[in-house]
């Protein structure tokens, strides 16, 4: 902060050379600013245009979806026919219901299991803490592809194959690492002093947790639950491997992908995309916090 002051002070009596340098820097700053805006707008368009495309395809008539050349202007004519056609297709409503059930199981289980671990990671220094954190991170990156095949064989042997509940178990494993990391950053954002103060004032550790920490972390836990929902909602490989009759929405779309018409595909893509995009947009702050913790 103080350095900024030093630069601005010489303004009073400036030597021409200094003035020239100053102007040059200012010009460069302006130029840089313009460049940054340009980059920001170009990158935003890069992100937004495909979403606009798929949205306008999903929210128009099936005839328009097949038309060529397509109008670049979105939603002309606006219609829910394509979406209705998709939702009325075989297996889609069941798929949505299954997806929601699987996601609900995932949310409940992952929160119950991850919350204590997140708390431990954020509040205690213990032997093996770093190893545990590292292994969570490693597991987070681990191939779903590798897990699905042996679990499918095991589920077959146990007689719980093709079952939304066993898929929920699998998805819980999938989201658990992220849930632990998100929750650990959520707990870490609540000063330990608050808990200490409560204990000094006569609370037991459990009471302190119950009356001080829990109310403060509820939004964070909600965020973690939303994130778990999105991961489970999006997951397609394990869902396709572990189910046959009781497919989730992405598994159903994937299974029929090669022979389904374009309006079906586009509406399906839109339907999978939108809830996830909205949810992640709501909780993005927590994801930044999580990675801030992890990479420290």
């Amino acid at each position: 902060m103080s350095r900024k002051h030093d630069v601005q002070q010489p303004k009073a009596e400036v030597a021409p050379e200094v003035m020239a340098i100053h102007l040059k820097m200012k010009r460069r700053q302006k130029l840089g600013r313009g460049m940054i805006y340009l980059a920001a707008i170009v990158l935003s368009l890069w992100v937004l245009i495909p979403i606009i495309f798929i949205t306008s395809m999903a929210l128009t008539t099936p005839e328009m979806v097949r038309a060529y050349p397509k109008s670049i202007l979105p939603f002309i004519p606006f219609s829910l026919d394509t979406l209705r056609f998709f939702l009325g297709s075989y297996g889609i409503l069941d798929g949505i219901i299954n997806s929601v059930i699987v996601a609900a199981i995932t949310i409940v289980l992952s929160t119950l299991i991850a919350a204590p671990a997140g708390y431990a990671l954020s509040r205690y220094i213990f032997r093996g803490r770093d190893v545990f954190r590292l292994s969570i991170l490693a597991v987070r990156a681990f191939p779903i592809v590798v897990l699905s095949i042996p679990l499918a064989v095991a589920f077959l042997n146990l007689g719980i194959y093709d079952n939304v509940f066993s898929l929920g178990l699998m998805h819980t494993a999938l989201v658990l690492p992220t849930a632990i990391l998100v929750l650990s950053s959520v707990f870490a954002s609540i000063p330990y002093e608050l808990e200490e103060a409560a204990m000094v004032l006569g609370c037991s550790p459990v009471q302190a947790f119950r009356h001080v920490v829990v109310p403060l972390v509820l939004p964070g836990i909600a965020a973690s639950a939303i994130f778990s929902f999105v991961l489970s909602w999006n997951e397609v490989f394990a869902a396709s491997i572990l189910t046959i009759q009781n497919r989730t929405l992405p598994a159903q779309v994937l299974a029929t992908l090669s022979y389904s018409p374009d309006p079906y595909k586009f509406a399906g893509s839109f339907f999978m995309l939108i809830p996830a995009v909205i949810f992640i947009f709501i909780i993005r702050r927590y994801l930044f916090n999580m990675w801030g913790q992890v990479t420290k």
Binding site: A39, I136, I241
Partner: protein, 463 residues
């Protein structure tokens, strides 16, 4: 803001944190560690391929050799034997029901013993339909022994305690399902072995004493699946494409993500809006994104519409066909970059937030250009974040799947995960699927170890 506040280290071991992490630890062990090991085992183990042939028709009898699955055998003899309740659902069982009967023999003494239901004609049943009274069937045939033996236990291995004449009335006390054992002889290594096996492992042919070993009861180590994977016609294309995609996608993603992060950190007006837009793709499903880019690249898609609208082409170009592999790859690259750059950006932005503003301002004041600031100040300070992002992205790139399926259909351009799916889903070959997935696992491990090693040596070098 998220500074971690840790309580002072305690001297006594505090068990609370361990108790708190136990559930997660166990869960990850069951759903990560165990499947990983299983995947490797499935790759090198062939189950149910050898059938142990036993000296006598009992489970405990010593084996005298093993016959391979598929071998033709001669069925010499058969006899019924006890089977455990749990095994009754085994496929391929050939069973026989035996009755425990009570009868008064010629000498007037009461005997109770076992014989096959085939030997009796049921005369009376109770209200549940259970037989309670029967008579011994006459044995038709010249050579046949006219007497029906009653055994001390439900097996022909048991001792014969009585022999009954035809038409003798008996009371039925209980019944039991027995499994047939076959005495077979078959060839192994040009040597004939003869012994007893359970019928469930043998496929019999009607009106013939010939049979075939349907499955074995023991497995063995094999490199068959690994060999078959390397010889699979899709393996090398899949492997090469996966690596190619990784090598193209990751650098583009990192450059884009760093630019995004710089834009967000530049403190221009509306930077939070831009951050919001850039992080949109964080939550998108890969299948949905694949379809989005399919909508752009398909024959009557957006790209052709735009090009034709601009007058650059007169008829739509076909991008996604077997003859235009490169276009499929380009579409996949764009889709993956579009989808997963935001993850890298989030990691980099969170890393940047921990860089002290003073350092950046100092660099600016001393006249460093943006390029100089990025290469000499920001990137070196971002190293930990970049490393995490790099490991994560590389391993995730090995799993690219749904995007490939949605854009290219998964045949013209194929990747390792797609081949795993093909083996499991289309060909129903679990072992081959496990071989492919284990290959991905081992690649991921090699890459992680490589990165971690690189990080460690750097740390050692810097002290």
């Amino acid at each position: 803001m998220t500074n971690q506040l840790k309580p002072p280290k305690r001297k006594k071991i505090n068990w609370a944190p361990y108790l708190l992490i136990v559930p997660s630890f166990v869960y990850l062990l069951v759903f990560f560690a165990w499947p990983m090991v299983q995947s490797l085992i499935l790759t090198v183990r062939e189950d149910d391929v050898l059938l142990r042939v036993r000296e006598d028709p009992t489970q405990t009898s010593p084996g005298i050799g093993s016959l391979e699955r598929g071998v033709s055998v001669e069925i010499l003899d058969q006899q019924a034997n006890v089977i455990s309740e749990d095994d009754l659902s085994e496929p391929g069982l050939i069973t026989e029901v035996w009755y425990e009967v009570q009868v008064t023999d010629e000498t007037g003494t009461m005997v109770a013993g076992w014989a096959s239901e085939q030997r009796f004609r049921v005369r009376e049943t109770d209200e549940d339909g259970k037989p309670i009274m029967a008579t011994v069937r006459p044995i038709i045939g010249v050579d046949a022994d006219p007497l029906t033996p009653i055994y001390s236990e439900p097996s022909t291995a048991g001792e014969i305690i009585a022999e009954l004449n035809a038409q003798t009335p008996v009371d039925i006390l209980s019944q039991r399902t027995l499994e047939i054992w076959f005495q077979i002889s078959g060839e192994v290594d040009a040597k004939l072995i003869t012994g007893w096996v359970q019928s469930r492992y043998i496929r019999t042919f009607p009106e013939s004493t010939e049979g075939r070993i349907d499955r074995g009861d023991t497995g063995h180590l094999t490199f068959k699946y690994i060999r078959r994977m390397f010889n699979d016609r899709f393996f090398w294309p899949a492997f090469k494409t996966t690596l190619l995609l990784m090598v193209i996608i990751i650098p583009i993603q990192f450059i884009l993500a760093i630019i995004m992060a710089l834009v967000v950190q530049a403190k221009i007006k509306g930077s939070s809006i831009f951050l919001g837009i850039f992080s949109i793709a964080l939550g998108v499903s890969d299948l949905a994104v694949g379809i989005v880019w399919y909508a752009i690249f398909t024959h009557y898609g957006y790209l052709n519409s735009i090009l034709q609208g601009l007058g650059l082409i007169s008829a739509p170009i076909t991008y996604l066909s077997a003859d235009t592999r490169h276009w499929i790859i380009i579409a996949i690259v764009l889709a993956e970059v579009w989808r997963a750059t935001s993850l890298v950006m989030v990691i980099i932005v969170s890393g940047m937030q921990s860089i002290s503003q003073d350092v950046l301002e100092a660099a600016e004041v001393f006249g460093a250009t943006l390029w100089q600031r990025v290469t000499h100040v920001i990137l070196p300070l971002l190293k930990p974040s970049l490393q995490v992002a790099l490991i994560l992205r590389t391993i995730l790139a090995l799993q690219v799947f749904a995007v490939v399926m949605a854009i290219g259909g998964g045949d013209v351009v194929t990747v390792l995960a797609r081949e795993t799916y093909r083996q499991y889903y289309d060909l129903r070959n679990f072992n081959m699927a496990a071989a492919f997935s284990s290959f991905i696992l081992i690649l991921s491990m090699i890459i992680s170890v490589f990165y971690l090693r690189a990080v460690r040596t750097e740390q050692e070098a810097s002290g």
